[in-house]
């Protein structure tokens, strides 16, 4: 509740799909959902994002799979999971029964694989949106990651979009390791992405100075946590600036309500929480509460009014467009 006693309307939209609030779990950071159930009711969040689901079961990478870096975490987990069939059989129904809004993340090695995954998901009950994890190596392009190439990303997105029913948004998840994130974002939007999620982990590396060998078995890995937040905020800002009508899920180092607000002011209409869940299983609900309080304290009664607000010149006010004198 705000100082003037009004509560904040926290609802948000990924295109036409309404979420009760903008705080969601990040792909690969909240398990199957069951693991968090002892801590809080996942249904309180805007949505739960699954880990990236693959066609076949995957054991993932060897250990060590992670190492800490200053304010960050390097991981090379390698999309472990039981494959789409087990997911549809045992994981999605558990979420659907509890009416947990579920964004299903998918990962593949070729356009055909992403399409096949989308085909299996099409019509499955309980799929709120499909997030296309483009940070996967393209086996048809010598392992070059899709997200590094606008055209390849757009091709995947377009193909998934064709297969997924119209009322289920397709979200393209982008990586920051590109020369120009706006080009990739625009290509994905052009390809039919209803929304964009950013950022996936930039590629990093750490060497154990005692063994004098890479700290991760996989040599390099993805950097996450507060260390990457400035990169994520920059990407959200740039893409919102270029494509103000495309909904953005802001991801990267969100640990507090202030961090979530930062993403929203930069242009995100939803905020995903990843690494922070490792540090505090209650992080997502805490962030939601803090965010609501921060909005209220600023006299902002609708979350939607805060989205992209830092782009407006100071003093341009908070009036809704429909109330504007233009």
């Amino acid at each position: 509740m705000s100082p003037d006693g009004r509560s904040v309307d926290m609802s948000t939209y990924i295109t036409h799909v309404e979420l009760a609030n903008p705080v969601i779990t990040a792909a690969g950071c909240a398990g199957t959902g069951r693991e968090l159930a002892p801590f809080f009711d996942l249904g309180r969040l805007g949505a739960h994002t699954t880990r990236s689901i693959t066609m076949a079961p995957r054991a993932g990478r060897p250990t060590p799979r992670m190492t800490e870096t200053p304010s960050g975490l390097l991981n090379a987990v390698g999309l472990p999971g039981p494959g789409i069939e087990v997911f549809l059989d045992r994981e999605l129904p558990w979420l659907a029964q509890r009416s947990i809004r579920t964004i299903v993340s998918i990962g593949g090695g070729s356009v055909a694989e992403y399409t096949a995954l989308a085909r299996r998901l099409a019509g499955a009950p309980g799929v709120t949106a499909v997030e296309v994890n483009l940070a996967c190596p393209n086996i048809e392009d010598r392992g070059r990651v899709f997200a590094r190439d606008g055209a390849a990303s757009a091709e995947v997105v377009a193909s998934v979009r064709t297969v997924i029913p119209d009322d289920v948004p397709v979200v393209a998840k982008l990586s920051p390791d590109v020369t120009d994130i706006v080009t990739v974002a625009a290509a994905c939007a052009q390809g039919g992405a209803d929304a964009l999620s950013m950022i996936n982990n930039p590629l990093g590396m750490s060497i154990d100075t005692d063994t004098m060998r890479p700290a991760l078995a996989a040599v390099s890995g993805g950097l996450s946590g507060p260390a990457v937040r400035p990169l994520a905020v920059r990407c959200v800002w740039q893409v919102y600036n270029a494509l103000p009508l495309v909904p953005i899920i802001g991801v990267g180092g969100v640990t507090t309500g202030r961090d979530a607000l930062e993403m929203i002011l930069a242009g995100a209409c939803a905020v995903a929480v990843g690494t922070a869940l490792f540090h505090d299983p209650l992080a997502a609900v805490r962030i939601l509460k803090e965010l609501e309080e921060l909005l209220a304290a600023r006299g902002i009664h609708r979350l939607a009014d805060a989205v992209g607000r830092a782009h407006r010149p100071p003093g341009s006010g908070s009036r809704h467009l429909e109330e504007s004198s233009l």
């Binding site: 690969g28 398990g31 054991a59 990478r61 250990t63 799979r65 992670m66 304010s71 690494t275 922070a276």
Partner: protein
């Protein structure tokens, strides 16, 4: 936090945590946030529960070996500081129904987790014998208490500074024979668990091991703490030490393949075992 004190090479902490104390069963661990507000250390640290006591509504004891910045921070805490704990976590030691003979084997601070177990076993009228080892005398944890609680307590150090020179797996066969052991419980470094498991297999005695894998979350969501374990169906899976463990049946753990994805594991690269799907 209640008290903090040094015990040989370790730091012992006592924390008031009624919720954890109440639900604790031997083998459980907790995770603790380190570094305070705004910490640059983004993952929690796993700590075995050493002891729980009913004082102040319920206290929990930990034994800490400083190995990096997180454990160093923990060792620096003073009485009355607060700690952010999550727990109890993990799968506890399965307990025998009957009053059998149990050998409890601990390496380094891994011994700490065995005393809560010994308590429960003794209450069930099991015979308890200890085998504790470490690199040197100051790193053998709980020798006195083991002597008090156990029928026998055999100590080993690699440098011979306390007890027998050598490793716990070296003396274990003798202990097993002497006490006519029915089951072995072990906690300590992976190399030790491998050795103890081999002895258990040799003597055809079940071994319950509590493993230690690098953990980021402790609650099963990050998938970093996996090791290859053979399931009831004979299939090797990369399972989470925090959620499916830390306690496993020793002979199910593929110790030699830790740090790899065995080619025959479910979902191993190459897809050799894709036929195992569903």
């Amino acid at each position: 936090m209640l008290t903090t004190r040094r015990v040989d090479a370790y730091h012992a902490l006592t924390v008031v945590a009624p919720g954890i104390a109440e639900r604790y069963r031997p083998g459980h661990f907790v995770s603790v946030a380190v570094g305070g507000p705004g910490t640059p250390m983004v993952t929690r640290r796993a700590l075995a529960v050493h002891d729980v006591k009913p004082d102040y509504g319920g206290t929990v004891d930990f034994v800490i070996a400083v190995s990096g910045p997180g454990t160093a921070w923990l060792a620096d805490r003073r009485a009355r500081d607060t700690l952010d704990l999550v727990g109890p976590l993990g799968r506890a030691f399965p307990l025998p129904r009957d009053p059998v003979n149990c050998v409890l084997v601990g390496g380094e601070y891994g011994s700490a987790t065995l005393f809560g177990l010994a308590d429960v076993l003794l209450r069930r009228h099991c015979r308890v014998d200890f085998v504790l080892g470490a690199a040197s005398a100051d790193r053998v944890f709980g020798a006195l208490r083991a002597r008090r609680m156990g029928e026998t307590a055999t100590l080993t150090t690699e440098d011979g500074s306390l007890g027998l020179r050598g490793r716990v797996a070296d003396v274990l066969p003798g202990v097993i024979a002497d006490v006519r052991a029915d089951v072995i419980y072990a906690c300590g470094p992976m190399g030790m668990l491998r050795g103890v498991t081999a002895v258990g297999i040799e003597f055809d005695i079940p071994v319950q091991v509590a493993v230690e894998e690098a953990m980021a979350c402790g609650i099963g969501v990050c998938m970093t703490c996996v090791l290859p374990v053979i399931g009831d169906d004979g299939v090797t899976r990369m399972v989470r030490a925090c959620a499916e463990g830390p306690v496993f049946r020793g002979e199910r753990v593929r110790f030699d393949d830790i740090g790899t994805i065995p080619f025959d594991a479910l979902g191993a690269p190459g897809g050799g075992s894709a036929r195992n799907v569903t």
